[in-house]
Structures are given as structure tokens and as C-alpha cells.
């Protein structure tokens, strides 16, 4: 926290709670960045897998289940891949929405806190 120059504005419990809330949102926002990165990678991998599948002309595909690669007919693999892609896309959507909502709430809190404390408080990313 930036140490101000002996500001007059007193910190109330409500201010403290707003600061705490901002901190929580900030943490969650960083976590979401990591989760979104992983979700994007997963979406890409599934996309690549789908493309490979189209190109391959084998009937039996080795599909990873757990730690092993099970032999599965191509059709079944295609179906599974489709539903995995759908799930992954939905998950990415959800994460992005959560991130947007959190950023909006953080902006609200910034307005309130900067409003009261001006430059006695620093809420930016270092």
C-alpha cells in the first residue's frame, strides 16, 4: 500500500471492508487469468485433435482415458471430441464472463475509494 503524506481522511470499517473486497476481487482476477489461459489452450488442443482426426484414415483411434490410450472406433471418438469441445467452449465463456464482472466491480470500488482517499491510496497493478 502506498503510504500517504498524513492524510486527513479517516479510514472507517466500511472503507476497510471495501478495501478488503477490492483485494479479493484482485486476487480472483489473477486466478481467472491463469484459468482462462488454460481453458484457451484446452480449446486449441481439442480443435487440433479434431483436425487430426479428419485427416487420419484409420478406423481405430487411440483415445486418452486417464493415463492410458484406449482403442476406440473413429466415430465414437468424433462424438466424444464434439462434446468435449462444447464443454470446453462453455467453460471458457463462463470464465470470461466472470472476469468481466469482476473487473466492473473493481472499477466501481476504485471510484468509491479514490473518491474518498484520492492519492492516499493506490489501487493499481504494480
Amino acid at each position: 500500500m502506498q503510504q500517504g503524506e498524513g492524510t486527513e481522511a479517516q479510514v472507517t470499517w466500511e472503507d476497510q471492508q471495501n478495501i478488503n473486497k477490492f483485494g479479493r476481487f484482485n486476487n480472483r482476477s489473477h486466478e481467472l487469468d491463469d484459468e482462462i489461459k488454460l481453458a484457451k489452450e484446452e480449446n486449441e488442443s481439442l480443435e487440433d485433435a479434431g483436425n487430426e482426426l479428419i485427416l487420419s484414415d484409420e478406423d481405430v483411434v487411440r483415445f486418452q482415458i486417464g493415463e492410458v490410450f484406449a482403442h476406440m472406433p473413429k466415430d465414437e471418438v468424433e462424438d466424444r471430441l464434439e462434446s468435449m469441445k462444447e464443454e470446453a467452449a462453455k467453460k471458457l465463456e463462463r470464465l470470461k464472463e466472470e472476469k468481466e464482472s469482476i473487473l466492473a466491480q473493481m472499477d466501481e470500488l476504485k471510484k468509491i475509494l479514490y473518491g474518498k482517499f484520492k492519492d492516499a491510496i493506490n489501487l493499481e497493478e504494480d
Partner: protein, 193 residues
């Protein structure tokens, strides 16, 4: 801990929890001057005490983060087990064995032919493996998954509470410091006039 001594200061509107699962709450200071007078500490002693509290919180945070990482690794593992059990079960009606390629050692794979079976063995840890019917295994794994998810939720809430206490402590440190700077400025101003 001063948490008990200054619980009177948190008598405003929504009073926070005094502690959570062994983590003491950081007392919120309504007024710095009153706080310093009541605690009988001078500014530097007070700042040292608060810094020490902050360090203690950080230590607990490290521990909780490690637990969180373990749980977060455990959950996908349980999902993998559930997937395999489901795959075995679905092969049961078909009359065909399940063929899989598995890793014997790094970079070396072999093929396994798994005949239809109604049972699986689950690794329970501590060099113990037990045989279960596929259904029982499924139920057990699902229960473990639920427990892991529930534990993770509690842990995340603990971390949030802990970080709040860290923030409160950091803000208090800043306020005590600022108050001190303010006091010195005023004294200087009086001297010069």
C-alpha cells in the same frame, strides 16, 4: 492477542468474526490515537507488533496455499479414475475386450487387453490396493471427489478470510505510520511559528 482487547473497537455496524478455524481476526482500529494510547505502545513498537502479525499471517498463507495446490491436483486425478471405470463398465455389455496402449516406462508403451470385468482395483495409498466391484468403485470415487471439492471450498474461504486480515493489518500499519508523520509535521509547524 490484542484481538480480544480491542474487540470493543469492532462494535460498529457489522462486527467481523473474531477468528476462523484457528486464524485470529485482525482487530480493526477505529482511531489511531486511541489505539496507541490504549495499547500503551509507542509508534515504532506498535509498527513492529503489526509487522510481526503480518508475517505470522503470511506463514499461515503459505501453508494454506500448499494445501490448496494438493487438493487442486487431486481432483483431476479422481476424474481420470472415474473415466476409466466408466469406460470399463461401458465395454461390459459389448462382448469385446478393451484394448489400451499404456506407458510401461518413459517413452515405452505396450498394449493391454482388458477382458470384460465387473471389478477394479483401487489404490488407496500406503501400498494398499483393494478390489471393488465397478459400481462400488464408482461410488467410492464419487464420494472422494465430493469430499475433495468440499475441502477445497472451505480452504478457499479460509484463504479469503486470511487475506482480509492481512489487508486490515497492512492498512493499519499505513495509518499508524501516516498518523506519526502527521504528528511530526504538526510539531514542526508549532516549533517554527
Amino acid at each position: 492477542m490484542a484481538a480480544a482487547a480491542s474487540s470493543s473497537s469492532s462494535s460498529s455496524s457489522t462486527s467481523a468474526a473474531e477468528e476462523r478455524r484457528g486464524i485470529p481476526a485482525a482487530a480493526f482500529v477505529e482511531d489511531v490515537e486511541t489505539y496507541l494510547r490504549q495499547s500503551g505502545l509507542d509508534v515504532s513498537a506498535s509498527l513492529s507488533l503489526l509487522q510481526e502479525r503480518l508475517q505470522q499471517y503470511k506463514i499461515v498463507e503459505m501453508k494454506l496455499l500448499a494445501q490448496q495446490r494438493d487438493l487442486q491436483a487431486k481432483i483431476p486425478d479422481i476424474h481420470k479414475c472415474l473415466d476409466i471405470v466408466a469406460a470399463l463398465q461401458s465395454k461390459n455389455g459389448s462382448g469385446e475386450p478393451l484394448l489400451t496402449d499404456y506407458e510401461v516406462s518413459e517413452g515405452i508403451y505396450s498394449r493391454a487387453r482388458i477382458e470384460q470385468t465387473d471389478s477394479v482395483c483401487l489404490w488407496l495409498g500406503a501400498n494398499v490396493m483393494l478390489e471393488y466391484s465397478s459400481q462400488e468403485a464408482d461410488a467410492l470415487l464419487k464420494k472422494n471427489l465430493e469430499n475433495a471439492k468440499a475441502s477445497l471450498q472451505v480452504l478457499v474461504a479460509d484463504l479469503q478470510f486470511l487475506r482480509d486480515q492481512e489487508t486490515i493489518t497492512q492498512v493499519t500499519i499505513a495509518r499508524v505510520y501516516n498518523w506519526d508523520v502527521h504528528q511530526r509535521r504538526m510539531k514542526e509547524a508549532i516549533k517554527e511559528s
